[in-house]
């Protein structure tokens, strides 16, 4: 996975709280192989009307080139399905800006190069004011934890270790190779001091 420090793109507004993982990708699409792409399933039901037609007034439909979404609090709450992140990433989304994120969603996002940028109420209001009507060009600076939109500069927060991971495009399995010996030693110690922690032999 490629790391990134800055991103410039178009931001759209989805001013809804609790956009949960079941809305991000309904369960019925989750048996698809990743190689087939998940982008078409992003917010599948939310972006359609009762007849199944794409809603012209839905920001993602009107602006399919957008790469940044501003959303309400608790974005990505719910299930651990990483497919919710795949749907965003495969649809070209690089960052979601929101007052808060579901814990598992945020971790999954970072593991796929998607930035969960947390903003305070003031920051949210500033971005919303800029993008409420029309999509706007936005610049994201991961080093400075800064969003620039219109004439406004807004700070966001992200866990330091996550920012580092996004910037370097690190993969945890590669990183963990450096700790092989420590893991082996830990296992030996635990198997001696907590033998009960291994499943009992069964016939």
């Amino acid at each position: 996975m490629a790391g990134w420090h800055t991103h410039q793109g178009q931001a759209i507004c989805l001013p809804v709280a609790n956009v949960d993982t079941d809305q991000l990708i309904p369960a019925r699409f989750m048996s698809v192989s990743r190689a087939d792409g998940y982008g078409d399933y992003l917010l599948y039901d939310m972006r359609r009307d009762a007849t199944g037609a794409l809603r012209a007034d839905f920001p993602l439909n009107a602006h399919p080139g957008a790469s940044v979404i501003l959303a309400g609090r608790n974005f990505g709450s719910g299930s651990s399905r990483e497919a919710a992140v795949y749907a965003l990433v495969d649809a070209g989304i690089r960052a979601v800006i929101a007052p808060s994120f579901g814990d598992i969603f945020a971790a999954n996002a970072v593991n796929n190069g998607l930035l969960p940028a947390k903003v305070d109420d003031e920051g949210y209001a500033a971005v919303e004011a800029a993008v409420a009507k029309d999509p706007q060009s936005i610049t994201i600076d991961l080093d400075a934890r800064r969003l620039t939109i219109d004439a406004a500069t807004i700070h966001f927060t992200i866990d330091d270790s996550w920012a580092l991971k996004l910037k370097n495009g690190w993969d945890d399995i590669d990183l963990t190779r450096n700790y092989c010996e420590a893991i082996a030693a830990f296992k030996v110690n635990r198997s001696q001091t907590a033998t009960w922690a291994w499943p009992a032999e069964v016939e």
Binding site: V16, A17, N18, D20, D22, Q23, P26, A27, R28, M30, S31, S33, R34, D45, M46, G72, R73, N74, S77, G78, S79, S80, R81, E82, A83, V85, S100, G102, D103, I104, A107, N108, N111, N112, D159, D160, S161, L164, D172, I173, L175, T176, Y179, A182, I183, F186, K187, R190, A194, T195, W196, A197, W198, P199, A200, V202
Partner: protein, 468 residues
């Protein structure tokens, strides 16, 4: 002297292989549970040609896509393919598989405890957010995404920053017909679905001590609906009585050694939590959700709220939820007609849940159709041995095999568009039980009451004079 520690502190320290300078810990995973949805993770490790590091600590369960009828011949090819993929991965890596015909098959969070795979003092991961269920045993258990599942498969470890600690104390005695589900919906309604974000919740207090293991599992299961990736209850005699003699639980001298170790897991007196919340058990009543988020819940004898009366940041969501749910402000929740009912899921699909539902349904007829899917094949067998299946069938409800079923609809058990379902599950998200489905979350006894009257109903009058 060492400062007093929380149970979280102790569990964390016992699993920490190392901690990086940035404060993120590498944790040892004692049990890794996988299911059909783990296919992305298996694909990731096979791309890199990596083996499963600890096949003996990895257990595979068919649950999310498990058909609840006609299991021997699966009609839908995409469902058959998901189950076959898990079978192939389990075989390729030498994993113990709980397949559809296994008498121990069931929902992963029901099977783990039943098998004694879940024990106090362990760290358990699963690619499912309701992994917090296992915390009911004094276990560090949390849901992870596919990239993390691949990492656990490859290394038997997981990187994680230690969450903040939060204690929810529930003191006093629950009233008749009030359950762990009502405690959970109650605190989530009060604190919000992001109320415990970033925290590990420990449940404590006399009302929690008084809960069975089934009740504690329901409570810990729903922690994630309040934003907490972890929920936990300190192990006690109730925990030991549940586990002793379970298939994979320690035996003989190992059991004794384990009990000694587990006795020191509880939070020390005077341990400090980052957040403390106290609830009075006597103030909790049977609770149902009215919206599309678990925080949109109220006691059954309450009118449907007016969005204008809610805090501004919740008003818009409430308006949208009421529109989706087809409900009108000011109407009473009680008396809202339902189209169907569902009892099951990792939240409320255990034997005690089925007994509670049967206590209401015995000798009564359901006025609406419904599905009852036990949480495991073992729960099903137990219920049948107790004659609960007869009660359900005589009431007119469908008694089917175990799986995640209508909680998430992946196996094809769906609620129709615009239909209203009283459900013992965990998420009332838009479309969760099917496109356009309207879900009301509640306890199994409350679902049974809704079946009997055909509308959202306070179960308590229906329990008068009955043994529960």
């Amino acid at each position: 002297m060492r400062p007093p520690q929380t149970m979280l502190d102790k569990l964390w320290a016992a699993h920490e292989v190392t901690r990086r300078e940035d404060g993120v810990s590498l944790l040892w995973v004692d049990r890794h549970l996988v299911h059909e949805g783990s296919h992305h993770a298996f694909a990731k490790i096979s791309e890199r040609d990596l083996p499963v590091a600890e096949p003996g600590l990895t257990f595979a369960v068919v649950d999310h896509y498990a058909p609840t009828r006609n299991r021997s011949k699966i009609d839908a090819p995409q469902i058959a393919r998901m189950i076959d993929t898990l079978r192939d991965n389990a075989a390729a890596h030498g994993l113990r598989l709980y397949d559809l015909d296994d008498p121990r098959q069931g929902i992963v969070h029901v099977v783990g405890p039943e098998e004694g795979l879940t024990l106090p003092g362990l760290l358990i991961n699963c690619g499912d957010s309701h992994t917090s269920t296992h915390g009911a045993f004094g276990t560090l258990a949390f849901g992870i995404g596919a990239t993390e599942v691949a990492h656990v498969l490859a290394t038997q470890t997981v990187w994680q920053r230690k969450p903040r600690s939060m204690r929810i104390s529930v003191e006093g005695t629950l009233g008749a017909g009030v359950t762990a589900k009502d405690i959970a919906l109650g605190w989530i309604a009060r604190l919000g679905t992001d109320g415990a974000q970033g925290h590990a919740v420990e449940y404590a207090g006399s009302a929690i001590r008084g809960l069975s293991m089934e009740g504690r599992m329901t409570l810990c299961n729903l922690s994630i609906e309040g934003g907490a990736r972890f929920g936990m209850v300190a192990p006690d005699e109730t925990t030991l009585a549940y586990l002793k003699g379970r298939r994979f639980a320690p035996k003989g001298a190992e059991w004794q050694a384990a009990c000694v170790s587990w006795a020191s897991l509880a939070s020390d007196a005077g341990a400090r939590f980052d957040r403390e919340v106290t609830l009075d058990a006597s103030e909790i009543s049977p609770t149902v959700t009215w919206g599309t988020s678990p925080e949109q819940a109220l006691p059954i004898r309450t009118p449907i709220p007016d969005p204008a009366s809610l805090p501004p940041h919740k008003a818009e969501a409430a308006r949208a939820a009421l529109e989706y749910m087809g409900l009108k402000t000011g109407d009473m929740l009680e008396g809202t007609p339902v189209d169907q009912v569902f009892i099951g899921s990792c939240t409320n699909g255990r034997i005690e849940d089925l007994r509670a539902a049967a206590a209401v349904l015995k000798g009564r007829k359901a006025r609406v159709p419904g599905l009852i899917s036990p949480g495991s094949a073992r729960v099903k067998a137990q219920a049948e041995a107790e004659g609960l299946d007869r009660i359900f069938i005589e009431a007119g409800l469908d008694w089917v095999a175990s799986g995640c079923s209508m909680c998430v609809g992946m196996n094809g058990d769906l609620v129709g568009e615009g239909k209203r379902c009283a459900s013992s599950t965990n998420r009332n998200f838009k479309g969760r039980q099917g496109r356009g489905a309207r879900t009301h979350l509640m306890s199994p006894a409350m679902v049974a009451a809704a079946a009997v009257t055909g509308e959202l109903t306070d179960v308590r009058p229906l329990l008068v004079g009955r043994v529960t």
